[in-house]
C-alpha cells in the first residue's frame, strides 16, 4: 500500500515535469540548422562559452530549412541557413550574414578530369553527360552524388550553377561529410561540398579554369559561392545577440576564416 502511494507520487511528479517543461532559461541559447555551418557554430560556441560562463549554447544540425523553422517556432533562438535565396517563410525572420562559403566540385583523386566549364557541370548533374570521356576524362560512366531535396547546399549549388534539373540516377547523401566519403570511395563519382570541408581524400576541380581557393572566392573570380545567415525572430536580443556579435567580431570572423569559411565582408 505504502509502496503504491510512493509509486503514484512518482507518477505525478513525472506528469508535473512534463507539464512544466516549456521552460527556457534566459541563459540557454539553442542554435540549429545548416549542417555545413554546424561545425563552425560549435567551435564558436565553445569559445564564446569559455568567456561567458553564464550562457549555455547548444548547437544542433538538421539543415537550413529546419533552422528557419526552428527559429520561427522558437525551438531554437538562432537558426542557421546557408541558402542563396531565403525561402518566403523566412521573411518574418531577421537575417544576419555571418560568413560566405565556396562550394567545391569534388572528384576522386584518381579521376583524370581537372577542369570543368559551368556548362559541363550542368550537363553532368542533369545527366546529359553520361561518360567521363565527354568531359575529357577516361571512358567510364559518370556517377553523380548530390544532396537531398531541401538541403541548403543543394539549392545554393543548383541556383549558382543555374538550369540544373538533377538526374534521377544521382546518388543522394544527407551531409557534406557523406558526400565526401562517397566520392572518396568511388573513382567515377562527382559531388560538391562546402570548400571548408575539403580533404586529401578527394580533389577539387577547377571551374571555368578557376581553382576553388580562398583568394579566388574573395576576389569574386570563383563563382560557386553562397552566404551563411544567422536567423532570429525579431531583432536579436540578450544572449543570442551577444553570441551573434561575437561571431561578427574580428575574433569570431578570424576563427571562421582559419577553419575554411570566408568572412562576411
Amino acid at each position: 500500500m505504502k509502496r503504491f502511494m510512493i509509486g503514484m507520487a512518482m507518477g505525478l511528479t513525472v506528469v508535473g515535469l512534463l507539464a512544466g517543461c516549456g521552460r527556457q532559461s534566459a541563459a540557454l541559447v539553442t542554435v540549429a540548422g545548416s549542417t555545413a555551418f554546424q561545425p563552425f557554430a560549435e567551435k564558436l560556441a565553445e569559445q564564446f562559452m569559455a568567456m561567458r560562463n553564464d550562457v549555455n549554447i547548444t548547437v544542433q544540425g538538421g539543415g537550413s530549412a529546419l533552422g528557419i523553422q526552428a527559429a520561427r517556432s522558437g525551438t531554437a533562438q538562432i537558426g542557421m541557413a546557408d541558402l542563396v535565396q531565403l525561402p518566403p517563410e523566412a521573411a518574418e525572420l531577421v537575417s544576419t550574414t555571418v560568413a560566405r562559403d565556396g562550394l567545391a566540385l569534388i572528384v576522386h583523386p584518381a579521376n583524370g578530369v581537372t577542369n570543368l566549364s559551368i556548362e559541363q557541370v550542368r550537363g553532368l548533374f542533369n545527366g546529359t553527360l553520361k561518360n567521363w570521356k565527354e568531359a575529357g576524362g577516361a571512358d567510364q560512366s559518370v556517377r553523380v552524388v548530390s544532396r537531398e531535396a531541401g538541403s541548403g547546399t543543394r539549392s545554393s549549388f543548383e541556383q549558382t550553377v543555374g538550369g540544373i534539373r538533377l538526374t534521377a540516377e544521382a546518388i543522394i547523401q544527407d551531409s557534406n561529410g557523406t558526400i565526401r566519403e562517397t566520392v572518396a570511395n568511388d573513382p567515377n563519382t562527382i559531388g560538391y561540398l562546402t570548400h571548408g570541408l575539403l580533404s586529401e581524400k578527394v580533389r577539387a576541380v577547377r571551374v571555368d579554369g578557376v581553382d576553388c581557393t580562398e583568394a579566388a572566392i574573395l576576389e569574386g573570380r570563383y563563382k560557386l559561392v553562397r552566404p551563411v545567415f544567422l536567423l532570429t525572430k525579431g531583432a536579436p536580443g540578450g544572449a543570442a545577440k551577444d553570441f551573434i556579435d561575437y561571431v561578427l567580431s574580428p575574433e569570431g570572423q578570424g576563427m571562421i576564416r582559419s577553419y575554411g569559411l570566408l568572412p562576411a565582408k
Binding site: 500500500m1 503504491f4 503514484m8 544540425g61 538538421g62 539543415g63 537550413s64 530549412a65 529546419l66 528557419i68 523553422q69 525561402p87 517563410e89 556517377r143 537531398e148 531535396a149 531541401g150 538541403s151 541548403g152 539549392s155 534521377a168 540516377e169 544521382a170 546518388i171 543522394i172 547523401q173 544527407d174 566519403e181 562517397t182 570511395n185 568511388d186 563519382t189
Partner: protein
C-alpha cells in the same frame, strides 16, 4: 480502507494497461494529422503512383520509393529467409540439443548489434565488393538486400526454431518408425506442422526489413528512381523520411509525414498477416 486501496489499485492498473494502446493511437493520430491533409489534397493516386519526386517544384510522387522498398525487402527475404530457415531446421533436427543450447542464444545476441554497425559494414565491405566485381555504384538494391538479409537472420531463426521445436516429438517418431530418414521426416512431417510459425517469423523479418532506416540510408544510395537492376541505387520509404525530414518545411514536410502514413499502413498489414499466421500455428 483496504478495499478502497484495492479499488484504487485496480483502476490505476487498468489506466496503465491502456498505455500501449494509447501510445499507438497517439502515434497514429499525430502522423495522420500531419500527413493526411496533404494526402487528401494531392490525391492518393498522384501521391502513390507518380514517379516525380521534386519537392522544390511541388511534385510529390513516391511510387519509386514504394517499389524500391518492396524490392529491397524482397531481396532481404531472398537472402535471409532461406538461410534462416535452413539454420533453424539444422539446429532443431540435425544437431544435439547441447549444440543448439549454445548456438541459439549466440545468434539471438547478434540481434542486438546496432543497425548502424551493419550499415557501416555494408559501406566498407559489401558495397566496394559489388562495385568492383559486378559494376554500378555499389550502393544498391543488392547491397541493401544483403545487409538487411543478415540483419533479419536472428529474427527469422529465433521464431522458426521455436515453431519447429514446438512440433510434438511423436510426429517425428511416427515418421521415423515408418522407416523415413531424418530428412524425410523433416520435410514430410515437421515442416508441414511448423509451416505457419515459420511464415510468421519470415513476415516479422519482413516487417523489420521494410522498417529499417539508418542502415538502408547508408547502403542503398538513395537515388529517386525505379530500379532496373539489382545494381541500381534506390531510396526506400524510410530513407525518404529520414533523409529529408530535417530540411523539409511546409508541403514537403507534410509529404514526408504522408510517406510515414504509407509506411505505417504497410507495417500494419504485415503485422496483421504475421499475427494471423501465429494464431494458425497455435491451433
Amino acid at each position: 480502507m483496504r478495499n478502497t486501496g484495492e479499488r484504487i489499485v485496480q483502476n490505476a492498473l487498468m489506466l496503465v494497461a491502456f498505455s500501449a494502446l494509447a501510445s499507438l493511437l497517439l502515434i497514429a493520430v499525430f502522423i495522420f494529422k500531419e500527413g493526411l491533409p496533404f494526402l487528401l489534397r494531392t490525391g492518393l493516386r498522384d501521391f502513390l503512383l507518380s514517379s516525380d519526386w521534386r519537392p522544390q517544384e511541388g511534385h510529390f510522387g513516391i511510387y519509386p520509393m514504394i517499389v524500391s522498398s518492396l524490392w529491397v525487402t524482397f531481396g532481404a527475404m531472398l537472402v535471409g529467409a532461406p538461410l534462416g530457415i535452413a539454420c533453424a531446421i539444422f539446429l532443431n533436427e540435425f544437431v544435439p540439443k547441447s549444440v543448439m543450447r549454445v548456438t541459439k542464444p549466440t545468434i539471438e545476441l547478434l540481434a542486438g548489434i546496432p543497425s548502424v554497425v551493419y550499415g557501416f559494414i555494408g559501406v566498407i565491405v559489401v558495397a566496394p565488393l559489388i562495385r568492383s566485381h559486378l559494376g554500378g555504384p555499389g550502393l544498391s538494391v543488392l547491397c541493401a538486400a544483403v545487409i538487411l538479409g543478415i540483419m533479419i537472420l536472428p529474427t527469422v531463426i529465433s521464431i522458426s526454431v521455436d515453431a519447429i521445436g514446438s512440433v510434438p516429438n511423436s510426429y517425428r517418431e511416427g515418421a521415423l518408425a515408418l522407416g523415413a530418414t531424418r530428412w524425410q521426416s523433416v520435410h514430410m512431417v515437421v515442416l508441414k506442422a511448423a509451416r505457419s510459425g515459420i511464415v510468421a517469423g519470415v513476415i516479422l523479418g519482413m516487417g523489420r526489413a521494410i522498417g529499417e532506416t539508418m542502415a538502408v540510408i547508408m547502403v542503398a544510395g538513395n537515388s529517386v528512381k525505379i530500379p532496373h537492376s539489382a545494381l541500381d541505387s534506390v531510396r526506400t520509404l524510410t530513407a525518404n523520411i529520414a533523409l529529408e525530414m530535417g530540411y523539409a518545411t511546409g508541403q514537403h514536410r507534410q509529404a514526408l509525414f504522408a510517406t510515414g502514413i504509407v509506411l505505417f499502413v504497410f507495417i500494419m498489414i504485415l503485422n496483421s498477416l504475421a499475427m494471423a499466421a501465429m494464431k494458425k500455428s497455435v491451433k
